[in-house]
């Protein structure tokens, strides 16, 4: 359903009912869920929380809880919704037409009126045909490309703000939701910067007391601060060296999979004047004198080495004496907790653990998540390096294709959608930097990884090409559907993100052939 006024048409309606909350397996959805949970707790709303990872689970959960009154769906991606009037035409217009037709008229003016009526009718019919054509176009555009709109956590925060129930905690979750979209490369740089500006206003509204010495807050209170910080993943909880090696931006630009790349890394560090021993130590134990102007120094040297965007606008959270985290740290930690392959207990434990780690009280879960995230990033970089060195990325014409073999190390990590998407984006970035073929640099990538060895299924992901001005629109959803139809392959289009599918290993080659012919 389309909702224009979030507060009146949505929140006020559900606040007096019992709510069923279906949440997708996405960090952005988790953050939106936390905000909504906080609002529900303040208003004593009873709710049931069900994590879903695809359309089938959504259906089963809905059928199970059919007697619940109101249904709320939290999706990871908000597709940009066209205007209501462009798609749905109200019934009244139809009736008007038929009323005129059955309108009785005087015999004397009958002829003239009849002609006028005919003209009116044809004009209206033509209008209607144009409207239908436009509608088809809009729906085709809407369904052909898949892309992401505003983060759902930010939408929820907006709702809380409109009701004046917003808190610093909710603001932090909105920030994490937005950063998740940026880490997974789902939104354009413009959109990210615009949304950061929006959140920055809220941050200064909530956190202006920190500058005031007279009335400063207790150190245990949570503070959020705007940072123009380095883009290196988890660098404050790792060593600077590891972080440089395992961040896709630096690893791709310095080409760290080759020997020459390693030399360039040493040159880069030497250019900044950072001794190797210091850089390989845990970041917190690095010399203070080196850490003082670290950001500016790294930015200067990075410019010389062709990395102009090493710094990014983001936020950090600060509570107690020990705990300082950047938004991207939380995103990596939560995502790896959610998709951890260790099976302990029922299927939803990972989801609940990831949800819990977003609360400030559960620091041990957060630290666990950080450790898992470090392992995940290392695994991604090693896989990327081996794929590029062994030329596993082949051009199939209209797209690039890469398939992970079963025997590769850590391949089980990539049987989950978010990890596989992250791997494919990093692989594409590195491939674009490594190849000399100009045409290949503009191609999208399809990545396949074994999902379940016993059932013989493969998970396949399609991502748009890596260009500077990419609008991040993904057409693989429809393409996959059409290819599956035409070859009768046994596929499962279960994920909310239509460009992720599962299919049987045997059907893989004919599916790919169909895709090639479809897209060329």
């Amino acid at each position: 359903m389309f909702v224009t006024d979030c507060r009146r048409e949505f929140y006020d309606v559900i606040v007096s009912q019992r709510v069923l909350l279906l949440v997708a397996s996405d960090v952005d959805a988790l953050c939106a869920c936390k905000i909504l949970q906080a609002l529900f707790q303040c208003d004593h709303v009873q709710y049931t929380l069900v994590p879903v990872s695809g359309w089938q689970e959504l259906e089963t959960a809905f059928l199970e809880h059919k007697d619940q009154v109101k249904l709320l769906v939290k999706q990871g991606d908000d597709l940009d919704v066209p205007a209501y009037d462009d798609i749905f035409r109200d019934e009244e217009d139809e009736e008007e037409l038929s009323e005129d037709e059955s309108d009785g008229s005087e015999p004397s003016d009958k002829r003239r009126r009849f002609e006028e009526e005919v003209i009116e009718r044809t004009a209206r019919r033509r209008q209607r045909r144009e409207w239908e054509a436009r509608r088809r176009e809009i729906l085709f555009d809407y369904e052909q490309y898949e892309y992401h709109g505003t983060s759902s956590a930010m939408v929820m925060f907006d709702l809380a703000w409109i009701m004046s129930k917003d808190l610093n905690d909710m603001l932090w979750w909105a920030i994490v939701g937005l950063t998740d979209q940026w880490v997974q490369d789902k939104i354009t740089q413009m959109k990210y910067v615009t949304d950061i500006g929006v959140l920055q206003r809220h941050v200064s509204r909530h956190n202006h007391r920190n500058e005031d010495e007279e009335n400063s807050l207790s150190i245990d209170c949570m503070r959020i601060a705007f940072e123009y910080d380095l883009r290196l993943a988890l660098y404050q909880h790792w060593s600077l060296y590891e972080s440089l090696c395992n961040t896709s931006y630096t690893s791709a630009n310095l080409k760290l999979w080759s020997v020459q790349g390693q030399k360039r890394l040493q040159e880069f560090l030497a250019d900044m004047g950072l001794p190797l021993k210091q850089v390989k130590q845990k970041f917190n134990s690095m010399d203070m004198s080196l850490k003082e102007n670290l950001r500016e120094m790294i930015e200067e040297s990075a410019n010389k080495f062709g990395m102009k965007d090493l710094r990014v606008q983001t936020f950090s959270i600060h509570f107690g004496f020990k705990n300082k985290f950047l938004a991207s740290d939380i995103v990596y930690a939560t995502a790896s907790l959610m998709e951890s392959i260790e099976k302990e207990g029922p299927e939803t434990t990972n989801f609940i653990k990831a949800l819990d780690s977003l609360s400030r009280g559960n620091l041990d879960k957060l630290h666990q998540g950080l450790d898992l995230a470090k392992k995940q990033l290392c695994a991604i970089q090693q896989t990327v390096a081996s794929c590029i060195c062994t030329n596993l990325v082949i051009s199939q014409g209209p797209f690039l294709y890469c398939s992970l073999m079963e025997g590769m190390p850590d391949v089980k990590l990539f049987s989950k959608p978010v990890s596989l998407c992250l791997l494919s984006k990093y692989l594409l970035k590195s491939f674009v930097c490594s190849t000399k073929n100009k045409r290949c640099k503009l191609l999208p990538l399809i990545m396949a990884a074994p999902m379940d060895v016993e059932q013989g299924t493969v998970i396949m992901v399609g991502i748009p090409p890596e260009t500077e001005s990419s609008d991040k629109k993904n057409f693989f959803g429809r393409a996959f559907e059409k290819a599956a139809d035409s070859t009768n392959s046994r596929t499962l289009h279960n994920h909310f993100d239509m460009s992720i599918i599962e299919l049987k290993t045997e059907d893989r080659s004919k599916f790919l052939d169909a895709l090639i012919s479809l897209l060329s």
Binding site: C42, N215, L217, S218
Partner: protein, 185 residues
């Protein structure tokens, strides 16, 4: 009495809040809870204030004694005197803990206040231990302590009474009695 019970009794104390909702007068067995209007301060018991604060429905105003200068004076006064000085509230320790745990963003200089209250508490506990020690040692018959709060009495109460019990039993056993065989307590 458990410390939790003392805290429960402390929650009946009144504190000022500024609500952000409106509600009519509520009649409870323990008393009335005044009409709530957004933006207008109203006095409520601490248990309700904490609950409303957790639901983001009010802003707490710290009691007037919860101020850095006043607490510094109290602490210095306590350190000077040998006996116990009167405290601003019979539940000062519990109130400090509750308000600083749940509403530290409404209380300016919360960290300093916490330190000052702890200092005062430590001084008073030291005096209490000293006085209990001399009481037991010199086998006094009775003692009088003014201005003690319930929480402080709680910390020493059980220990002191049991210690005195033991002392009494030991003393009665020292004196020779008719049948001096049994040594059982």
């Amino acid at each position: 009495m458990e410390p939790a019970e003392a805290e429960f009794l402390a929650e009946k104390e009144l504190v000022t809040i500024v609500p952000s909702f409106s509600m009519d007068r509520v009649h409870l067995i323990g008393g009335d809870l005044g009409p709530f209007n957004p933006g207008l301060p109203v006095e409520v018991p601490v248990w309700l204030a904490i609950n409303l604060k957790q639901r983001q429905k009010c802003r707490l105003i710290p009691p007037e004694w919860m101020d850095v200068e006043k607490l510094e004076e109290i602490r210095d006064q306590e350190r000077k005197e040998d006996t116990f000085t009167p405290m601003p509230s019979p539940y000062y320790m519990e109130l400090t803990k509750l308000l600083l745990n749940y509403a530290s963003d409404n209380i300016p200089k919360a960290d300093e206040i916490r330190t000052l209250v702890k200092d005062t508490w430590d001084t008073r506990m030291a005096k209490l231990r000293l006085s209990a020690d001399s009481f037991v040692r010199q086998q006094e018959a009775h003692a009088k302590l003014d201005n003690l709060t319930l929480m402080e009495i709680n910390t020493i109460g059980t220990f002191l009474t049991q210690a005195l019990d033991h002392m009494y039993k030991l003393r009665t056993n020292l004196q020779p009695s008719g049948s001096a065989e049994s040594q059982d307590f």
